[in-house]
Amino acid sequence: MFSKRYLLSCAAAAVLGFAQPAAAQTAEVIHWWTSGGESAAVKVFADQFTKAGGKWVDTAIAGGPNARTAAINRTVGGNPPTAMQFNTGKQFDELVEGGLLADVDAVAAQQNWKAIIPAAIYDAVVRQGHAYAVPINIHGQNWFFYSTEALAKAGASEPKNWDELFVALDKLKAAGLIPLAFGDQKNWERNMFNTVLAGVGGAEMFTAVWGKRDANVVKGAGFKKVAETYKRLKGYVDPGSPGRNWNDATTMVIQGKAGFQIMGDWAKGEFTAAGKTPGKDYGCTVLSNSSSAGYVMGGDVFAFPKSKSADVAKAQAMLASVMLAPDTQIAFAQKKGSIPSRQDLDVSVLDACAQKAVGWLKDKSAQIPANELLSPPAVTGAVEDVISAFWNDNGMAADAFQAKVVAAFASAM
């Protein structure tokens, strides 16, 4: 009896299966969003994709480099996922050159990406006229988050430029607080340096250094000033900073033990989780010494490995269009702390910090493309080592640092 029923149900399943050959587009997606806010954000994609009739298979791998390595190895090895995450920029260059990625031109044309996505972000997914990835969000990387409570205690106010920043930092120091909360790890040392490079050096210098890798600019007086300003910040971090995680540094600001933290807007997730409101409990600003805002923007993209199967291609197209659908974009940005990559949306539901960023997106001169958009990982890594050595070695002069950066430019073919 039992086996008969079992057989029947099997048969039924088989019949149903044949009757609806393309019932659900299955998409296996590799990403590295594993923290609380991040998984909530990726769930937005999963839910929307399911709603559109697809089947989302989640392959979350903790740690960006690990996830990218797994995805690249599987793609090269012939067993690719349906979609894989990269940071907006050059991380997937060689996959395009190797002909391993499918283009998303159809979706890009249909949604008119060129018109609705900021030029720098759009250009970062286009290679030789074809779009090879979906830019799903924009992250600002050079935010200053500060504790309103700590600043009030020290009698400081929100700085408007770098000179005012140092005044505020000095006041915090005098009040016995930790002026600058820092999770001292190599990539955050680089991010802090980039923040100074954008704010003190300006957009032109930023792209000359990372994009053109112009030795003359690096050797110049302007860059030297950036280096010295960067080193000056070291006087404001606490001795426990080496090796600390960035989110632990954020916690110091949340608790009012520290004044400022330089971090990307993903730090907002920590504030939100602690029940803090932007504009009230904490503030956010981007500092620039020039008239333009100097908002350093990167983000995340999903790329789609080439597949011979028409079903997979269909799932990829569906995924691409779902990810950029207006309601997905807003819901995702709210959870992730980023801002939508498309500009034709009503963003009034986003928080005060995101509103500022959306404003800068309207003005091209306020934007600076992030490090990852300008230089390949090999160069970024080599320069990062030099920045890290400079930050930690109190004996290294700015001149020596400048020479080492130039040398690091040559360290990748």
Partner: protein, 292 residues
């Protein structure tokens, strides 16, 4: 005839292992060396560039720091672990009470992975947590210990964790060697009135050559693959002060998408290892021959 057949059977049985050794080890090594001569970045290519990657490698400050860290760590790690392990073995060899317990206690660190070891030591040595905080909490406010965050000292914190991890193993190997020493020799030293420390140092020690060589080679392999300890304890920092070659290879292989440079570093490591280990192996085989 029968003997011939059984030898054939043995050879057939060994064939898979030999094939694996040939294809997997030698093949992969050869491929690694080849890739190090190309301009490969994220994906391997066959664009030959000669020794250009090596030129870049040996102009790279982080690589040079890594290499000198490894040399410093390696020499001190092996020397201190051998000395400490031998001393522990001698102490336990005095037929102390609770020998079994002590042996387990000393050997226990070796059962832990380097990751766990590194995390535990990182916590202990963190200037704002761990030992320094405990000392402050019980009133020793003058106590400062910040080697973990000092560029010129950080390598010694790795060393401390490494020695803690390995000394027990050396002790076990040495103890086995000591227990193998002929009792007649001990009787002879007692009749001659030689003090115990001299007997250990000048009579027993030379007899333990084989044990020393074994322990040294075991530790040398863990020196070369030193990676997880650095990652867990300092992640190479502060700055690049505690970087190690294996970490350089891993970072360039994956995160930095620079396979050419990574394989050049790996090949350089291989050449160094061969240059160091080959004489050791030779010495051990001679020591064994002399012993038999």
């Amino acid at each position: 005839m029968l003997r011939h057949r059984s030898r054939l059977a043995a050879q057939v049985a060994l064939l898979p292992a030999m094939l694996i050794a040939l294809v997997v080890y030698c093949g992969s090594t050869g491929w690694t060396v080849w890739i190090s001569l190309t301009s490969s970045r994220m994906l391997p290519n066959n664009n030959f560039v000669g020794l250009r990657q090596y030129e870049i490698l040996f102009g790279n400050e982080r690589w040079l720091v890594s290499a000198s860290n490894l040399a410093l760590f390696g020499v001190m790690f092996i020397t201190i672990s051998l000395a400490l392990g031998f001393l522990l073995a001698i102490l336990i060899d005095q037929r102390v009470r609770a020998e079994d317990l002590l042996r387990s206690v000393f050997l226990y660190p070796f059962s832990m992975s380097f990751i766990v070891t590194g995390l535990a030591w990182r916590f202990l040595l963190d200037p704002t947590l761990g030992i320094a905080k405990i000392a402050h909490d019980i009133g020793f406010t003058w106590f400062e210990f910040d080697w973990l965050v000092r560029q010129d000292r950080v390598i010694f914190t790795l060393l401390a964790a490494g020695v803690w991890h390995a000394a027990g193993l050396v002790m076990a190997i040495m103890l086995a060697g000591l227990r193998g020493v002929d009792q007649e020799i001990w009787k002879a030293t007692r009749i001659e009135g030689i003090p115990a420390w001299r007997a250990y140092l000048f009579i027993v020690l030379p007899m333990l050559k084989g044990s020393f060589a074994t322990a040294t080679i075991l530790m040398a392999t863990s020196v070369v693959r030193l990676y997880d300890l650095s990652v867990a304890m300092t992640n190479g920092g502060p700055g690049i002060a505690s970087e190690v070659p294996a970490k350089f290879v891993m970072d360039n292989l994956f995160e930095r998408q620079n396979i050419g440079l990574a394989t050049a570093a790996a090949t350089s490591m291989l050449i160094t290892v061969v240059a160091v280990v080959a004489p050791l192996l030779y010495w051990r085989s001679r020591a064994e021959k002399a012993a038999s």
